[in-house]
């Protein structure tokens, strides 16, 4: 399920399992209004930064980090990959057919301990 489908399903589940008898008319109207084509996208980040809340006297105020105290590692563009050893053969397709002769039954009683 994509994120959009997940959001849509959550919306529908909230309506369907609300309790009480939701009429077909009311349900269709509400779901039409939020049809997949018009599924609202997650709220975007506001362009303007939120205003700082007022500082209450005596409250600890975190000071902003000074610029330049974080060192970003630089990727080296001259570093070539080092290949060691012989080329590996491609991985064979997974076999689902290997199984121990007796599969232990999950939840079955453990053998008695000596």
């Amino acid at each position: 399920m994509s994120d959009g489908q997940r959001t849509r399903r959550r919306f529908l589940a909230d309506l369907l399992f609300l309790g009480g008898a939701l009429s077909a008319g009311a349900f269709l109207t509400q779901t039409e209004a939020q049809a997949p084509g018009t599924t609202p996208t997650p709220a975007s980040t506001p362009v303007t930064p939120p205003t700082n809340p007022p500082v209450v006297r005596g409250q600890y105020v975190a000071s902003p980090s000074p610029d330049g105290d974080v060192a970003v590692p630089q990727a080296s563009s001259t570093c070539a990959p080092v290949v060691k050893g012989e080329p590996q053969p491609p991985t064979p397709p997974e076999s689902f057919e290997s199984q121990p002769k007796e599969v232990p039954l999950a939840g079955s009683p453990s053998p008695p301990r000596k």
Partner: protein, 347 residues
């Protein structure tokens, strides 16, 4: 044609209502599975191969081998092939999920309710609860696989927790759930409550089918008024008495997986994998099943195997008829309401 292989009589769960009867250590061998596959491949038309048990994933290696053979056969003959498995979802690790995905297997997962209900209704053979493990596996399967069908046996004790369980499954991505009432239970004490829950579930299912995220909840979904507009997806229909055989681990043939049980009822057998399949007996059983359903007044939703099951079939038919009536009474008004609302919207 449809061939169902009962890979083992063994199971790691001990559900009180299980119709498969006593569990014992008898598995299908490779040769019998191969014979069954030959039956499927020698027929013409689309093929459906399914696996049942006991718990079929206890014989995962054989299941995987048979699927590989079957796929090879279908490719050589250019025929359509689909796979199906019914499992209790206790042995569903990443490897099994990768297999189910690779072969696009329709996977029916059995689950009866929230953790605590599942613990009591479907415990492990040592009495330990299976709820936590099964829910984890079911949610993982719903996340990973596209072809998942949930089977929920409904009993007088589990029905009250059905709504939260269905809601959790829907939120996790389930779109196909079948509710299977325990037809041998005593429903008299919870009749009113059960009917009210049935009505709520009918409404939820039918309304959801008007949306892009439908919940096909059997037995209600067949009442949806506009199936040509909203086609119901799902597995193929039962073809009891037709081109459908179930093969027990011994090689005995039955018309339906539910009739295999402990494989000790020759009256409902229709042959052996080495000798072939008696079509006339399969047809006679179908007629007997139809007649039993007619006498029991089951109507829509009744299974032809019910009158042929062991135990008190009169009680089972009575309950089947009662649930068919509850379903109709719950679903028809919602169906009409939807028809009206859709008509208004179309104007």
């Amino acid at each position: 044609m449809k061939v169902c292989l009962v890979l083992t009589h063994q199971c790691n769960l001990a559900c009180s209502y299980c119709y498969a009867g006593e569990k014992f250590n008898r598995h299908m061998d490779e040769r019998t599975a191969m014979e069954g596959l030959k039956m499927l491949l020698s027929d013409s038309g689309p093929m459906e191969l399914s696996f049942f048990g006991g718990e079929p994933f206890l014989r995962f290696a054989l299941m995987a081998k048979v699927c590989r053979w079957a796929r090879g056969g279908a490719e050589r003959s250019g025929r359509q092939l689909s796979f199906q498995v019914t499992t209790n979802a206790t042995i569903l690790e990443d490897k099994q999920l990768r297999f189910l995905k690779e072969y696009q297997v329709w996977t029916a997962l059995s689950l009866d309710g929230p953790d605590n209900v599942q613990d009591v209704a479907r415990p492990f053979v040592n009495g330990r609860g299976s709820g936590k493990l099964v829910w984890r596996n079911v949610e993982k399967a719903l996340e990973t696989l596209e072809r998942v069908h949930i089977l929920m046996v409904v009993t007088p004790t589990t029905i009250t927790s059905l709504l939260p369980a269905v809601e959790r499954l829907y939120r996790a991505g389930a779109s196909r759930i079948s509710l299977l009432p325990d037809l041998e239970a005593d429903w008299s004490t919870v009749e009113g409550e059960a009917q009210a829950i049935w009505a709520q579930l009918a409404r939820i299912s039918l309304l959801s089918m008007c949306t892009d995220q439908p919940l096909y909840l059997a037995p209600f979904s067949s009442y949806f008024p506009a199936n040509e507009v909203y086609p119901a997806e799902g597995q193929g229909q039962c073809d009891f008495g037709g081109r459908q055989v179930t093969i027990a681990p011994s090689g005995n043939l039955y018309p339906c997986a539910r009739l295999v049980g402990t494989d000790r009822r020759p009256e409902v057998r229709i042959g052996h994998v080495k000798m072939g399949w008696e079509k006339s007996k399969a047809e006679a059983l179908k007629q007997a099943g139809d007649e039993g359903l007619r006498q029991g007044g089951c109507g829509k939703g009744g299974c032809q195997c019910i009158p042929l099951m062991p135990g008190d079939t009169k009680v089972q038919l009575d309950h089947s008829a009662r649930f068919a009536h509850w379903t109709r009474d719950a679903a028809l008004p919602v169906s009409r309401e939807i028809e009206e609302a859709l008509g208004v919207l179309a104007l």
